[in-house]
């Protein structure tokens, strides 16, 4: 082990979820005092999100099977507080070499860094369908946040649409909270789920939890439809009905809310602004910052861990966050235990194998995009339709995503393509006859999110040409 760290080392961690908290812990253990930035009100990230202080449910009620892990992570963070410079409610909206631009309680500020750990997590992977902008339609993660952080369900009779394990978990949590589940509409076919099982056996406990939820839901007679594509959310002022299609025909059910999500996608804008190299992952159907098993990116001094580097789940995020911080320590000339780093990499590797099983069991719903009618709104920020994108593909021969963006403004709205990006890419690939990896990716642009509290004109004008 080498001596005390030099004051030149100014590490910053973005994100106080499982990956960011474990990264901060490793940095503190090495004698550093990192700045930890998170736009959230309280630490914990997505899965271990803490409700506002006025709520009083127990950890067991909030986190179920994961209560023990949540408690350990929250306790670690509480113990770290005196040794880090933690800034909650602080949005990182821009990044340039050596400096982050943030907006926090004290207004705008710059945060210099010598080394940066990105632990920004993920958001829902969305494929739009007709009516998805109606009040009452929320993202799958949003449905879960409503319950976890606000004690609310998104409706009384809720349809769950998309694919992935979160569908079944949300159905279970919602039923326990007194909501009625109208239907679980999973684009994955039963045969996909069988195909994914062997790889998922690498994490038997997690597989067992998933099977438990499905069995629990089936025992309560909850309708699960596999291989289904949502056709429309119908209603005038809000959702009243969900219509879908399977190879066997059409189905419909009354509901007052819909949760929509096809798994998660990584939040990668900061790495993009800093010039990190990206590569397309065919397995994940997204472009991710290139990083090695240690969490180093292509830019010296920038490290990445957790779901923001590619979706692997919360347990992997903890290990990857620690590993990325240790890579930082190695590069900063602080001694690091080689056996520990090897064990962390092996742990993340096991989750990679499990993840491959998940992707087979709940594959990307490729066919869904092409069934979309021309009048379906793809971009909810600026109300750009599928037809407008198709016209640009046909008439202007567009075959690259940023060209499509320039022509149609897709991905240029306030959400920066977080909601429409995967669908726009799939649609462009389909119409141009190229592979999704070859049509390029939407580039991150500052501000990566609008300022949390902004004068009206500023917020809405920046989305205009």
């Amino acid at each position: 082990m080498s001596g005390r760290p030099s004051p030149e080392i100014r590490p910053v961690v973005v994100g106080a979820g499982p990956a960011g908290i474990r990264a901060a812990e490793a940095l503190v253990a090495a004698g550093l005092r990192p700045v930890v930035l998170d736009e959230g009100e309280r630490a914990g990230g997505q899965i271990y999100r803490q409700p506002p202080a006025a709520f009083s449910r127990s950890r067991k009620a909030l986190y179920g099977f994961e209560a023990g892990k949540a408690e350990r992570l929250h306790a670690t963070f509480a113990a770290l507080r005196a040794h880090i410079d933690y800034r909650p409610r602080t949005l990182v909206w821009n990044a340039v070499p050596g400096e982050l631009h943030v907006m926090g309680d004290a207004g705008p500020a710059t945060v210099p860094f010598s080394h940066l750990v990105l632990a920004t997590g993920a958001t829902d992977r969305i494929y739009p369908f007709k009516g998805w902008t109606l009040p009452g339609v929320f993202s799958m993660g949003g449905a879960q946040i409503a319950l976890k952080a606000q004690g609310c369900t998104i409706g009384e009779t809720v349809a769950l649409v998309g694919t992935g394990p979160l569908l079944y978990l949300v159905a279970y949590q919602y039923t326990k909270a007194g909501a009625r589940i109208a239907v679980i509409l999973d684009s994955a076919r039963f045969t996909d789920q069988i195909a994914g099982a062997p790889a998922m056996l690498r994490q038997p406990a997690t597989l067992a939890k998933g099977l438990y939820y499905v069995a629990w839901l089936k025992a309560r007679g909850i309708m699960i439809v596999n291989g289904a594509i949502p056709m429309a959310a119908e209603g005038t002022e809000r959702v009243e009905r969900l219509v879908w299609r399977t190879p066997a025909g059409e189905g419909r059910v009354a509901c007052d809310a819909i949760a929509l999500g096809y798994g998660l996608r990584a939040e990668t804008q900061i790495a993009d602004l800093l010039g990190c190299r990206f590569s397309y992952s065919a397995a994940e159907h997204e472009s991710l910052p290139a990083s090695d098993a240690t969490g180093r990116t292509s830019v010296a001094g920038v490290y990445i861990g957790g779901d923001g580097a590619g979706i692997l789940g919360a347990d992997a995020a903890e290990a990857a966050g620690t590993r990325a911080a240790l890579a930082l320590c190695e590069d900063a000339g602080l001694g690091v235990d080689g056996a520990a780093t090897g064990a962390l990499e092996a742990r993340v590797g096991r989750w990679r194998g499990f993840r491959a099983g998940i992707r087979r069991a709940f594959p990307e719903p490729v066919a869904a995009d092409f069934a979309l009618a021309d009048d379906v709104i793809l971009c909810r920020c600026e109300e750009i339709t599928v037809g407008a994108l198709r016209a640009a593909c046909r008439e202007d021969g567009v075959d690259e995503l940023n060209r499509l963006k320039a022509l149609t403004r897709i991905g240029m709205g306030r959400c920066q393509g977080r909601m429409c990006g995967p669908a726009a890419r799939a649609l462009l690939a389909h119409h141009s006859g190229r592979s999704p990896g070859d049509v390029g990716r939407l580039r991150g642009q500052a501000p990566i999110k609008p300022m949390p509290l902004a004068p009206m004109p500023l917020v809405f004008d920046e989305a205009k040409p």
């Binding site: 009040p135 929320f138 004690g151 909810r380």
Partner: protein, 93 residues
Amino acid sequence: MRRAVDQDRPSISFFINGQRFTGKLGDTVLTAVLTQAGHLRTSEFEHQPRAGFCLMGACQDCWVVTEAGPAVRACSTLLEDGMAFVIEGLPGT
């Protein structure tokens, strides 16, 4: 949005288009409004009602205009006593 569990919290007042409503301490602006009204805003181009989507600060669908002028992102802003919003398409506009 329907209140389900952990709702035993102190009440606080807020206003939509000048009318008084009651929310609870710990509510986000989104929860307080959508448990009692159908939407948060109308869309800029087609003027359709919108009620948020992601609840995690990612989609930017939930901006609500305050009487004082600035807009707040409803899913990530906690309700404070006396907050006043202007929402097109709800009673009072």
